[in-house]
Every structure is written in C-alpha cells, then in structure tokens.
Symmetry: C2
Subunit: 429 residues, 2 copies
Amino acid sequence: MAENLPGRRLPRVVILGGGFGGLTAARTLKSVPVEVTLIDRTNHHLFQPLLYQVATAMLAPTDITAPIRWILRNQRNARVLMAEALSVDVARRVVLLDEGAEISYDFLIVATGSRHAYFGHDEWEADAPGLKSITDALDMRRRFLLAFEEAEKCEDDALRSAWQTFVVVGGGPTGVELAGMLPEIARGALKNDFRRIDTRQTRVILLEGGPGILVAFPPELSLRAARDLAELGVEVRTNALVTRIDQDAVYVGGDRIPARTVFWAAGNISSPLGNWLDAPLDRAGRVQVEPDLSVPNHPEVFVVGDMAAVVQDGQLVPGVAPAANQEGRTAAKNIARTLAGKPRRNFHYFNKGNLATIGRSRAIAEFGRVHIAGRLAWLMWLGVHIMYLVGFRNRLSVLLQWGYAYVTYQRGARLIAEAPAGRTGRPVG
Amino acid sequence: MAENLPGRRLPRVVILGGGFGGLTAARTLKSVPVEVTLIDRTNHHLFQPLLYQVATAMLAPTDITAPIRWILRNQRNARVLMAEALSVDVARRVVLLDEGAEISYDFLIVATGSRHAYFGHDEWEADAPGLKSITDALDMRRRFLLAFEEAEKCEDDALRSAWQTFVVVGGGPTGVELAGMLPEIARGALKNDFRRIDTRQTRVILLEGGPGILVAFPPELSLRAARDLAELGVEVRTNALVTRIDQDAVYVGGDRIPARTVFWAAGNISSPLGNWLDAPLDRAGRVQVEPDLSVPNHPEVFVVGDMAAVVQDGQLVPGVAPAANQEGRTAAKNIARTLAGKPRRNFHYFNKGNLATIGRSRAIAEFGRVHIAGRLAWLMWLGVHIMYLVGFRNRLSVLLQWGYAYVTYQRGARLIAEAPAGRTGRPVG
C-alpha cells in the first residue's frame, strides 16, 4: 500500500461495483503495484444466477452472498468501501460518493450493472417488481408467499382466483427460472398447508412479447424448454405484449388477466453512472466502449459487465456472469500493461456455453454444437452453479437446501416477517 | 372439521400467537373434537432462544423459523390465519382482526407474548432497539455490521472510536448472549477485513442496573458468567442505571459513554391485547390469571406464555420457552377437560433447569442442585437448542453454521442489503 512506499504514490485504481466484473477486476490486480479501492453500496458480492431461488423461498439471502471485504481480506493492496457512487467527474478524475465524500482515481473501472426497465412504464414497478438485488428477491418472496395467505382468507371467488394467479413477464432465463419454480411449490411444498384453498389450482402464466422463450439458445432447445414448462403446468404465451399492469390484472392488448401477483423479468437498463462518463450510450444505456474496454477519449476509464456494450462478430456480448468476469479481467490486465509500458489488448469474449434450468430436474445446455436437455443438463447446471459460488460455507449450505428440497419437495425459506409499520410496510428478510 | 359433522357445530378454539405457548396449545388439541384457529401476524413460529444469533450474523432468519401452517399441516382440526388481532370483545366472544374481519370463539387462548419496554423512555427505542422478532434481529445485524463500515470510512478519531463501541443494556440472558458474541466477531471474523481500523480495538460494554448479571442463576454461576465475559473482553458494569440514550452516547448518571450502537435487553412489557380481557394486570402488563390459567370471571379465556403472570411458591414463573410450552399444554388440556365434563386442573410449573451461553465454548447451567459451568455446560446448551428446534432442515442447517463458525471463527450471515430508499431506509434481510 502507498503508506509503505514513502516518496512515491502508487497509482490509484477505483472500482465501482462488487459484482462479477468489479470483483474479478480487483482480484486480477492482486500482484500489480496499484492501490485498489472497491466501492459498493452493499457489503456483499451477490451470486445473481441463483437470486431467483431466494425469491422462491429455496435459499436464504446469506447462501448466495459473501462480504466483499471478506473475499478480499488477504489482498493487501485492496480496500473496500461501502458507499454509493453518485457521479463521476472524468475531467477532475474523481468519483462523488454519498455523504459528500470524494475519491480520486488514476484509473476507474465502472461495473455497476443494470436495473430492470419498464419500457417507459415505470408506474408498473409497484405492481410488477423486478429481480436484481437481495432486497428485490425478498420483496418477491414476500409477495409470493403472502398471495397464498390472502387467498386462504379471501371470501370472494374471483378475488381468490386472482390471488392464486401468478404472472411472470419476460421469457428470458430469469423469467423462465422463476415461472418454472412456482408450480412445483404450489403443488408440492404447500399442498397440505391450507384448509380453504387448493394450492394445486394455482395458475402460473409466462408472458413473452417475442415469438419464443430463451431465444439465446438454439431453436430446438428453446422449444424443448417451452414444452418442459407446459408439462410443469406453466401457461406459456408468446407474442404477448403487455400493455397495462395494475393491482388487479395484467393486460395483453384487449385481454385482461386477473392476477394479484406479477413479476417482471422483461428488460434491463444500465446503471445511470454511464451518463457521467462523457461517452456514447446505446438504447439500453450501455456504454459503447473501445475494443480494450476503455471509454472513447478516456483511456483511464473502463466499463465492464452489464453496463458495457461490447460488439463481437456483429453481436452484442450477453449480460451474463462469465462475460462480466472476462471483461473485468481484461480491464485489469490493460491497466497493468499500461503501467508496465506495454500496449493494451483487445477484449475477446470466450463463450463457455449456456445453461438454463426449468423447475425440478430439467434444464437445457448449449456448448457450441453440443446441445443437451433434461436431467443430464440439470446435473451440469447444479455442478456449475455450486462450483462458481464463492465460499465453502455457501456451497455446503446451498447443497444442503437443494438436497432437502429435492427429497422432501419442501422449501426451507418460507419466511414472512411482520411488516415494520402496520401491514403495508417494506419487505423484510 | 365442522363441515364434516353436519347437524352439530364443533366448539371453536381461537389461539392468538404462534410462539411456544400458542403452538403447543394447538398441538395439544390435535385429537380433541374442536375446531382450532391459530392466528399470528407473521407466517412463522420463531425459535426465540437463538434470535440473538441472527442479530450477530451467525444464523439466517430461516434457520430459526418454520411456517406455522407447515408445522400444523397434518393436524386436520387446525387452520392457520396470518392476521393481526387488534382487540378482543370478551362480552360478544369475538376477536377483531385487521382489515375489519371478526372471528368468534367458544374458547380463546391469548399467547401474544411481550415487547421490550423502556421504562417510560420510549424515545430511546430509535437509538437502542430491542430483540423480539426477526425484523428486530435484522435491524440489529444491520446496525452492528454497518458500525464497522462507518468506522472504516470515518476521518475523525473520536467518532471512529464511538463507532467501534457497542453498548448492551441489560444483564439478563439476552443481554449476556449478545454481549458475549460481539468481541469474538470483532477479534475473529472481522480481523483481516478492514484496512484503516483495527477491529480488535472494539469495545463492548454491558450495563446492568442491578447488582449482578444473570440473577436467575445461583450466585456462583452468575459470578462465573461475569468473569467469563470479562475474559472475552466485555466490560461488565453493574449498578449502572441508564439515564439517557441518544444517537452519540449512553449516559449512566453523569458518566457519558460515547457509542453509536446500543442494544436494549433490559425490560419487557406484555402485548397490549391483555388490556381487552377485562382482567387484572400487573406492572409489566401481564394478566393475573387463575390457577387454571383462565382469566377471572371468563373461564372461556386463557392466557399463556410471557403474557401470563403465574405465581408459584411465591415466585413469578419465568418468561422462558419451557414455561410457555407447559402453560399452553395446561390451557389446552383444561379446554378438553371442560368439554368432557371433567374438572380443570391447576397449572404447575416444572423447572427443567436453566442454561445461558457466554460466547464461544462457555455456558452456565443449573439443574436443581447441579450447577455446571464451562465447556460441558456449553455442550449441553448446544444439545438442548438443537433438540428443541423445529424441523430437520433447521437442525441440520444450524449445525452446519455452528460447525463452520467454530472451525473458522467466521460468521456466515454478514449481509447488509442496500437500503430500499436511500441510505436511511428500513432494515432488510
């Protein structure tokens, strides 16, 4: 650290965001003579690919999170600050934090990801929350579990049926994974718990605006996934563009679907920090970076992960964890090369393959020309997700919860805490 | 259930509260020809003796909770409602629920427990939260973990030291267990995670207004506990009556202790539902029940658990889980006996013993004349708590977290989620 080297200050690398991109960048700089500061508005790295399992009461939030400063505890050139970055002044090379603090950088890596977007209908968010953070997942879990409680209390048939209808908007991996979990819980975990309602009557509807679900996969796998969902009891509707959402219903054109619980998995918009980087943005707010992942005219500023619009072979590199990891590594290495007086290298995305799970025991997998579906793909999905989880404790705990759920059909995290202020308060863990 | 027996309605037993007392009462009524309705404002039974471990980032909320309707899923004469009981009309024999609903009863068992009390200083609650619910525990966890984050960011020495000072008010079991956990975390789990602060400088102060801590135990065990705490690094101050608490400090008479984090474990007051029972209350709001646990002049209304003031051999039966279980069982059996035309029996508390743990590897235990301290008492404490936890999954998960923490000195639940609205929002899981 700088304090140990009197006379000469080490270059300061500030990293915004402790997700896959930011964390990998920090770790890649471990042996580089720089001072790393990683800033996140939470204290934890979140394993986002399993977030839907927190939303559906399978895992606890602490199973898929690890404190960033614990992950970096042995990296002596890195410090971690829990703070929110409000803006960047690229001219003065400082980041403005909440509470008025400023932090200056020699190199900046921006990796603050994306939020869900409502295509100009932000008013839908209250009735159709999205899934990006632990707070989001706990809000979803609360709504989903409360819906059955409300149905059980309900005296009106139509209203009860609306409480027992769940609509998921968006046929990408998150939407499919969410929708695939719900019927199993309604028909398995909850089946003996209620006296008035029959939880097997639960409807789960997946709405996709385009012609197919999981379009990142080859067509035959995408069709297989749709068939698997249908077998699980999910009503999959494609070419179904949502035109309105309110407390009681979802509208697809003139068609009104009465539903009290709607989850949004249909679109993303980049973190607003991109607006401060003096750089061209695409339609979704992503920063159009140079081939070395730096910002045009600001070689000291890099953007990685969901926030970066990287085009390779005419296609946008997808917003997935492996891409963010690879981008974080490239950005960090380019900083090291610059400091060592070497030329930078261009980013090249290596697609390791694509996996998506559909409920219990089913998944689809694509590794180049190898396409797999069914139980084998599901086992691969399990293995990959356990392997990439941070921390031995988390791996063991997740394995335990999965084993328990697989054997008993139960869910271990069916917690609805008392609302802090009356019954309408914010979601709590 | 009533629907299955045309012509004759089964007597309705309404139970308010799904804690130890209420749940045991419901289970005791399993084979009794009654219709049981258990009402709780959350969906879960909470294993309160381990709640302090959620507050100190050892366990996840879902490790010590289980859905009440899952626990009672196979008891066909019981239904569960998630609702808040606002008042009782003993003349009309109805309970008024939130959202305006009413539910009528033939027998009522009130088991809604207690909240922490501030001896006329309710304004202290904002700066010195107590520990009764999962929401409380997550609020404590958030404050405790954030204190270190704030200390790390702090530029002012005095303020930093106040962020690194934790005051626990109250020397009963909850206060001692909380205070005993904190030094171990500061010196163990966190010791490599910060760069500016030395977490080993953390001060933990336990303030007790009376002359000793854990006064429910024999004097030699109570002294042993105080010595154990001191060895762990807790400053134990007895005869220390708190006179003021604000955001920056705790005052004991003229002595000002600068501290940004204060936890309250000093007093309880009963659930306000006691006010509706047309019955005499004691100073702490407990209902002074008859020897059969019913309310004077209302033989159809029972009060059990922390809410009941039961005097035996001149002493108040303590507000602990075994007492609540025994009271719940007696109340349920007395309802069954009444319906069978038999005389009621008086409640008799059987004290199985007393256990309290003090940090890692230490505890004190009293079983009548047998007094034990140290590692053996700690192992007994572990065994008893695992045994009484509801559900195989919870037992296994708690064992896993404990094993992990014991071996690594780490804590598995160090999660600070983003605040929902800016940085000042409510605690989330």
